[in-house]
Amino acid sequence: MELTPEAIQATKYYQGLGLTDAEYQLITTKILQRLPTYTEIGLYSGMWSEHCSYKNSKPVLKKFWTKAKQVVEGPGEGAGIIDIGDNQGIVFKAESHNHPSAVEPFQGATTGVGGILRDIFSMGARPIALLDSLRFNEPKTAHDKYLINQIVDGIAAYGNCIGVPTVGGDTAFDATYAANPLVNVMCVGLMDLTNREKGQATGVGNSIIYVGAKTGRDGINGASFASAQFDSKHKSQRSAVQVGDPFTEKLVMEACLDVIYKHQDALVGIQDMGAAGLVSSSAEMASKAGSGMTLDLDLVPQREANMTAFELMLSESQERMLLCIKSGSENEILDLFNDYGLTAAVIGQVTTGHQYQLSHHGEIVADVPVDSLATAAPVYHREKTVPEHILQQAAIQFSPNITEPTQILRQMLQQLTIASKKMIYETYDTQVQTNTIVQPGSDAAVVRIRHTDKALAMTTDVNGRYLYLDPYVGGEMAVAEAARNIVATGGVPLGITDCLNFGNPTKPDQFYELDEAVMGMTAACKVFNTPVISGNVSLNNEFNDVAIYPTPMVGMVGLIKGLNQITTQDFKQANDNVYVVGRTGNDFNGTEIQKLLTGKIGGKLFPFNLDEEQRIQQLILRANRQGLIASAHDISEGGLIVAIAESCFGKDLGVALSSTLTTAQFFAETQGRFLISVKPENKLGFEQLMGRDATLLGKVTNQQQLFVAATDGEFKLALSEAKRLWEGALACSLK
């Protein structure tokens, strides 16, 4: 039996659903002026969860810079849209599936991919690429390895099946993610701007159509689950597992795109059912349009018998969409879905007024103002204080003592964050749709836009260690690194999406990290002209009260205006000149070398100059446009020496270089630097353009050796050995 309104109040049942006393008060006294029913309290718990309402993060998200000339649609709809000319737009967004993946790694990852795809095609765009940003523990235990293998398999299973290439991503390893791995997936779609869709339900009498998988009891109230923190005591939360069905999603995607492209006259609005399932999609569609809505839950396609209204509204069964269809056109759309072999049904209507009414078994089970669900959740302005570990930071930079440079290089190449991720991305179909020009393994991935001379560069980046030491500067660096990767391939950055993976916002020192990071990211976005067009917040990433490193994943897309401008990181041929562009400092706090040599990271993060980074990036783009660059690689984790090694591996070419840097400086992670190779005939032109920003290091060679002389020692390693260590490390650690 369902609890009565009185019993809900007396037992404070709402607390178990994630609502506070004050929130319950607000509903009873201000909004409804009566006690909510069991179904109604469920609706509020889903809609007022962090996942749907952003109640803790809204004030922070407002700080993002979202308006720029190229933005057609900013945050708010399923995903943002950027104009790339020729009446085409690109749509992209990222989504986190951290908690589901910690519980059920394979299905957690698959449903993450499924969810982000729906966000993209519901905008009227065809998904053309996926990227995955993963954070794991250094695999030690069988469970660590199981998590990694299953999460990667899950991403592969869904993306490969549905036929969207997974073209890039990033993977880093740190003990901070041991109990709380991060699984962030980004999708990029391409659309004609004329097909732009909105998730709105307007027009009294128009019909609400449900299409896709039938509703089951899976993931009931997953939105509040995703917003709750983990600890070793709450194993019972583990009921919220959903199974991904990429085959059904493929049919849903093709059918919905068919409706959007060919049945515009019938279609009023379309939205995916994501977090908080049916209630969130329907209430948002009505609220955005200023309409009311009634739904008859008996008409909802159901997989299981005897489901309650609460369960039907809050189920997070996957592969479902909601459409608003003009009255009179219902059969046209139902027939279309039927032809695709999909279940679809009219389940409700747009009404006058602003009430949201649900009936079930002939009774009204909920009758609430629709805006109270969608927009009236309280907003919390959280307190922030500087974390203790930042107050305690030593001001000086760590100074690595490198006695055996070659040996340290060997070890560095095997650090999992640096080692090749081939064994991950080789399990992804990177080529389906036959547009992938630069596959994983270089800096940004490049996907061409068929039948044009344009291409898109895309990447995901963030280094949580930097943010842990300084969330503001680390946030700037995350955006800068993404831009650097785009620029290295020849792209002009267009915009970003993000996944804000943070700890508990009610703890002032953890809220500090979120707030500072967003301000840092915003500062950088303005400098690189990359507005935030979409994103996702994942809070409470903590286990037994310890939060992960603040990890705001940045997903960036850039435009390459001519296919001949596409550049990769691989050295192209012997005798090309090798340069480092940008100044190298003694920047070691938070770096891989600090971690390798001391087993931890610490101290004040090294300084960063955004304008300097932007200036260098502009120079690289200019050199690229003038055709002066043979290869370009951004310098990031592991520093210059790692970038050099990586550029050698692609075409098995060696280098003979010498420099005025110390061996230690070869591991510095100073931002704003590129490793560039230039053909002999372009040497002069390149040097003239770069002036003092480029330092000649030497030449690419045919010898299978990596030889680099520094002031206090040299790196000398057979290429085959270097490559074996770098390519083998990850597989070896997962054995």
């Binding site: 519980v103 059920e104 394979f106 299905q107 998988a213 089951g216 009891r217 899976d218 583990r238 597992v241 959903q242 199974v243 069905d245 085959f247 059904t248 997989r303 299981e304 069964s317 996957q318 072999g341």
Partner: protein, 87 residues
Amino acid sequence: MYLAKIHVNYKRSILNPEAQAVQTALLRLGYQDVTSVQLGKYFELKLTGSQSKEQAAKEVDEICDRLLANVNMESYHYQLEELAVAE
């Protein structure tokens, strides 16, 4: 030596897309009278180490929990048969 015959199935409330696909295919082939399709995995393991049936059961439980079944969404049951050691 014991032979463990293990069935692993999805829990009732969990979607089984594969079983659903099979049922749809049967419908299309004209088998309208097949009203329900369940689909699970079946394992046979030979255990040579266990001395007693209890010990074998303990090992099988452990193997199922750790590897063969995903207890978040699957349930399992098994039978144990004693085999002549010579095999």
